[in-house]
């Protein structure tokens, strides 16, 4: 070994191994590559040994992930070396470094051909292997006949023939038009008689490729396969070297059974009998044994046998045996077997008459949905989805709903989509369907795309019996403290249309319905406002006898929006206002929406389309394919474009007897769009443009609607002049070698910027970048930390801890211990705001790079203003509220000095950035600002906050601020918060010495860092503090 070991290579590998960081490694690699490059340049002096050594180094560097853009020629030239060791390196390295289209390969074709037709069988093997791995068209054209000859030659030894078989497979697959396989059935049959198991193993792979393309031509080979299987199963004539833990080549057994699955059926009774005997023996004779490897190998064979039995659709008895086996498997402890049990049960669903037997295992499958292993959970979800039908839809969907509350984010989207599809496909009754979808919106609103709630509206509109139920449900959900915007949309729509059907129930008078909807008004985005306006108009129309107070309230809203910048909102407000003055004529114009023309569920259609794209084998795809062929193994050639027959739509059966075919579909669409064309001008209840497009167009299952909202915030907050507040000791990176690491950029500035916007960089140093992206909804926040390793070696011992202040509930998902080179890891973070406070959550983050231990403590921008939602208030709303909150502790006033002098407009901008909405015109004095916002927390729920700032034009460094809200702590905290934003704080006491942000940690800093309180207050007890102030 030592004799042909390459010392230079070993030294290089060992050098690389000793590099303590990625930078050193890169330097070492660059040095080596430079060296090789120079040596290659004056090639004359190179011995074959040196050449070989350098080429291996290149392969090593390539494997490490560095680009090696030279020396390819040298690697290729080694192929023509006369001696085996050099030639071998040439072939192997060439097939690793070059792809099939590389020009240099062409230069080698002649040498390769000479090796293939030459007498040296070791050279033949090398050449066949390389062509088998990367051979392209030109190789096929010049070599295919030679390779075929070798494969069939009786004088050729098995070690050459087995490679020839796979080489031919490559050439055939890549260029079926060049490699002629006509008349190969006889040759294949001859090959399958082979005694040598190596040749047989590779020939079987070739056979699978041929038969998958055209099984008709290979009927004569079928008995041969059965014979091979019999030989192996009975362990006849199998050399010891080919038995693996006592099992005759499990790989050849598996491959042979796979080949058999490409024949639709087995007609010859004799062959069939023999095969079923073998299969029966495998099914019944595979026991669980202690030795893991033996167990795996025998189960590999067993699972393939199961697949073959399913494919052949054997007698009922054997099929139930299979299901029973799978049922046993899905309950075992061994996770691999459990996984495969679930996977194969899903495949089994294709056999129609076993579905009822599979249902017996429903409880066990549902249990697997809660397995700690995500691979198993995914299989369980797929299986449940596939086995769902009218009889068990209720149970399964309810399980999915229940699981949704605890499911991890990786699965929520898929879960909610699948639950929605099943609910629609198999609903036993419509009220159940409506109930399920509303629950889905409630639990996973972010994942419920518009098309799902559009569908609910369609069903409710088209089914009178359903309307009171739906309206009552919608009313119920609006009572919840935190309601998803999608829920607001669907509820407002349904209550607007059908709220009057509830009139006699408690809490359902028009006024009460209006109030409960309008309560949500401050929290919704512009896309929802038009729906709310329509709902108000409808409520107004349904109010009998007319209620002047309600009317004035609604008119005021219409008035307010008549000048809205959004055209859709403006038009609706103006038209509704005008129409509602018409009195009785309103009744005709605002009549109930006409029934929707029925159409195929866009949701299901979309799901089916997606399945075709998704490479993942999921139940729907399998079922669709089942309609086309009963071949279990799906080959590339299978016609995946054929549209599956429309699914039986239970909902359709209830009220809408026929399912529109694709043809009807388009015409129906046209009718509707015409109808809507007039609707927009006359009917005051037009679906918004988006809504229309979404109902009619192909549906996209969209991401969370939050994105749009977020971007709005970004626009608002892209303002400079971030409060110039210096940091206390909030950021304290600690390190064993602290002075070796300097963060890039100012951590404090980054934090302040992120307080005003929702995405950006939180921290960066030479090794890592931590980005953040946040979404806020009411008192919930979802942040995603993006941990990006900037280097080409991994960061290890990565740890992230959240030190939350008492008022925040923070949950960080698992952070991986290692961040691979150049990789970015995403760690979601859930935040719930319990009560008002200005304390800040801290991320304690550490990692190791080489010997450097880096630890930083970073404030997280989950600050008070993130839980604010700007809300415009009118004078009628403002003044009564302002007056009713008459004094301390609900209303606090303070004269603030030392304010950073700002023009009024800029100050207004700054408040806007903090999500306080300036309400112009409310205060008669032009030097004053009035603002309003809603604050969200679990204890206060949504609470309106009113702010007034009086400035002195003569002295811009002082002002008087007055804050009012329904909660004393909130009032205090908000006041302090606003002061922080306005006051110019002198640079913080960093102590003597350079105020670098990199100071060694004086304490472990377990407590959250001091918040940015202007005064040194006992911020923990604002109540006591307030008492002192008053």
């Amino acid at each position: 070994m030592a004799m042909h070991g390459m010392r230079g290579l070993s030294v290089f590998i060992s050098d690389i191994r000793n590099c303590s960081n990625k930078e050193q490694e890169r330097l070492r690699v660059d040095k080596e590559l430079g060296n090789i490059r120079t040596r290659f340049k004056n090639e004359k002096g190179l011995t074959p040994y040196e050449k070989k050594k350098y080429v291996w180094k290149m392969l090593y560097v390539h494997m490490l992930g560095y680009d090696v853009d030279f020396g390819h020629m040298e690697a290729v030239s080694l192929i023509s070396a006369p001696k085996y060791p050099e030639k071998q390196v040439g072939y192997i390295v060439t097939s690793c470094l070059l792809n099939e289209n590389h020009d240099f390969l062409r230069l080698a074709i002649n040498t390769v051909r000479n090796d293939i037709i030459g007498r040296n069988e070791t050279f033949q093997c090398l050449a066949l292997t390389m062509v088998g791995n990367i051979g392209g068209r030109e190789f096929a054209e010049s070599l295919a006949p030679d390779v075929q000859k070798l494969l069939l030659s009786s004088s050729c030894r098995p070690l050459v023939r087995k490679k020839a078989a796979l080489c031919l497979l490559r050439l055939y697959r890549k260029n079926p038009d060049v490699v002629n396989v006509d008349g190969w059935a006889d040759r294949m049959a001859q090959l399958l008689d082979e005694r040598d198991l190596g040749v047989l193993t590779s020939s079987m792979s070739l056979f699978v490729a041929l038969v998958s393309n055209n099984h008709e031509a290979y009927w004569t080979c079928l008995p041969k396969c059965v014979k091979i299987l019999e030989r192996l199963a009975r362990n006849q004539d199998v050399p010891q070297e080919y038995t693996y833990y006592g099992i005759p080549s499990p790989w050849l057994q598996v491959k042979t059974m796979r080949a058999l699955q490409y024949f639709p059926t087995i007609e010859d009774p004799n062959t069939r009998r023999v095969l079923f005997e073998v299969l029966q023996r495998i099914l019944m004779g595979t026991d669980v044994v202690k030795n893991v490897n033996k167990n795996n190998a025998s189960h590999a064979v067993l699972f393939e046998a199961l697949a073959l039995v399913m494919h052949l659709d054997a007698e009922k008895e054997m099929m139930s045996q299979c299901v029973a086996l799978l049922g046993k498997f899905i309950a075992v402890r061994e996770p691999n077997i459990r996984y495969l049990g679930l996977e194969n049960m899903t495949r089994m669903l294709m056999v129609t008459d076993v579905q009822d037997i599979i249902k017996r295992y429903q409880a066990q499958i549902i249990a697997s949905l809660k397995d700690p292993d995500i691979s198993i959970r995914r299989r369980a979800l797929d299986l449940l989805y596939g086995m769902c039908d009218v009889s068990n839809a209720k149970d399964i969907v309810e399980e999915l709903l229940q699981y949704l509350s605890t499911a991890d984010f990786a699965m929520r989207e898929e879960l909610s989509l699948k639950a929605a599809i099943l609910a629609e496909k198999f609903a036993p009754d419509l009220s159940w369907y409506v109930n399920v979808i509303l629950q889905l919106i409630d639990k996973a609103g972010d994942f419920i795309s518009d098309d799902i709630w559009f569908r609910v509206v369609q069903f409710v509109t088209n089914n009178e019996d359903l309307q009171p139920y739906a309206a009552a449900k919608a009313r119920e959900y609006l009572d919840k403290p935190a309601v998803h915007e999608t829920m607001v949309k669907v509820s407002a729509y349904i209550l607007g249309e059908f709220g009057h059907l509830l009139a006699r129930r408690p809490g359902c008078s028009p006024k009460e319905i209006f109030n409960v909807i309008h309560e949500k008004h401050p929290t919704v985005s512009t896309s929802t406002i038009p729906i709310l306006l329509s709902a108000y108009a409808k409520i107004l129309m349904h109010t009998h006898p007319p209620d002047p107070e309600l009317r004035n309230q609604i008119w005021a809203i219409f008035n307010k929006y008549e000048s809205c910048i959004d055209v859709e909102i403006q038009q609706r407000a103006a038209e509704y206002f005008a129409m509602s003055r018409k009195g009785d004529a309103l009744m005709d114009i605002l009549a109930e929406m006409p029934k929707f023309p029925e159409r195929q569920s866009a949701l299901i259609k979309k799901a089916e389309d997606a399945e075709i794209d998704a490479a993942e084998q999921s139940a729907i795809k399998l079922r669709a394919q089942q309609q086309m062929s009963n071949a279990l193994v799906v080959t590339n050639q299978s016609p995946a474009n054929e549209t599956p027959p429309p699914p039986v739509n239970q909902l359709g059966l209830v009220k809408m007897p026929s399912i529109s075919s694709n043809l009807d579909h388009s015409s129906a669409d046209q009718t509707l769009s015409v109808a809507n064309g007039t609707l927009t001008t006359v009917d005051p209840q037009p679906p918004s443009a988006d809504l229309l497009a979404d109902i009619l167009g192909p549906l996209a299952i969209e991401g969370p609607p939050g994105a749009a909202v977020q971007s709005e915030h970004n626009v608002v907050s892209e303002m400079e002049g971030v409060p110039n507040v210096a940091d206390g000791a909030a950021i304290v990176p600690v390190g064993e070698e602290t002075n070796s690491l300097q963060p890039i950029g100012n951590i404090a500035e980054r934090f302040h910027a992120l307080c005003l916007k929702d995405s950006g960089v939180l921290y960066e140093d030479p090794y890592i970048q931590i980005g953040i992206k946040a979404e806020w909804r009411a008192h919930h926040g979802r942040l995603v930390l993006f941990l990006g390793n900037k280097n080409t070696s991994p960061l290890v011992s990565v740890q992230a801890l959240i030190l939350p202040p008492a008022h925040l509930k923070v949950e960080l998902s698992l952070v991986p211990e290692t961040i691979p080179p150049r990789a970015q890891v995403q760690c979601p973070l859930e935040v719930v705001n319990l009560r008002p406070s200005r304390d800040v959550a801290v991320l304690d983050f550490s990692y190791k790079f080489g010997t450097n231990m880096v630890n930083v403590k970073l404030r997280l921008p989950a600050v008070l203003n993130k839980f604010l939602q700007p809300i415009p208030v009118s004078a009628e709303e403002f003044f009564p509220q302002w007056r009713s909150l008459s004094g301390p502790p609900l209303k606090l006033q303070e004269v603030v000095r030392g304010v950073r002098p700002l023009p009024l407009l800029e100050m207004a901008n700054q408040l806007n950035c903090c999500r306080l909405m300036i309400c112009p015109g409310l205060d008669p004095n032009p030097n004053n600002l009035v603002a309003s916002t809603t604050f969200y927390s679990e204890s206060t729920r949504a609470m309106l906050c009113l702010v007034r700032i009086e400035t002195d034009p003569a002295d811009r460094t002082q002002l008087r601020v007055t804050i009012a809200s329904g909660d004393p702590t909130l009032t205090f905290e908000l006041k302090e918060f606003i002061k922080e934003q306005l006051i110019d704080i002198p640079v913080a006491p960093h102590g003597p010495g350079p105020a670098t942000p990199l100071t060694p940690a004086p304490t472990p800093a377990a407590a959250p860092p001091a918040s940015l309180a202007v005064q040194p207050t006992a911020a923990n007890d604002p109540g006591a503090l307030l008492a002192g102030l008053l």
Binding site: H4, E241, N296, N336, L340
Partner: protein, 143 residues
């Protein structure tokens, strides 16, 4: 096609051997290795050996500090691949004697020779250890 790639990666995520049976650019390979290493290395012993990734599966097995990760098509027989990994390890073991990460690292060429005798173009060529090792032994003798 069957096997798409064979990777050997240690606990720290460093690649010790990479053999691809379909052409990927350097960037694609780096990204792929990063993703699957992150996915697989975080899993516990109690979890199954199969991980679904993009449109294929990874069948993996851990031996001391080294992970063997094999990317396969979705319809591949998972257990057969799992035992194929073991066969590979046993073969290396027969050659090196108590094979460890360093053997593979410092004898990268031999690891490649063995794999090349076992897998070709994503298909299994040979499962007899004697046959797999014959060319290497021949070379050891002649050189």
């Amino acid at each position: 096609m069957g096997i798409r790639f064979v990777l050997m990666v240690n606990k720290q995520g460093q690649t010790r051997l990479a053999q691809y049976y379909e052409w990927l650019t350097l960037e694609e390979r780096r990204a792929l290795e990063g993703e699957i290493v992150r996915k697989c290395l975080a899993r516990t012993e109690q979890q199954c050996s199969f991980v679904e990734h993009r449109n294929y599966k990874i069948v993996y097995r851990r031996y001391a500090s080294l992970f063997f990760l094999v990317g396969v098509d979705n319809d591949e027989n998972e257990l057969a691949i799992l035992e194929f990994i073991h066969l590979l390890v046993e073969t290396m073991d027969r050659h090196f004697g108590n094979v460890c990460e360093l053997d593979i690292m410092f004898h990268l060429e031999k690891a490649h020779f063995m794999l090349e005798e076992m897998v070709m173009n994503g298909c299994i060529v040979e499962t007899s250890k004697a046959n797999i090792l014959a060319p290497i032994q021949l070379m050891d003798k002649t050189s």
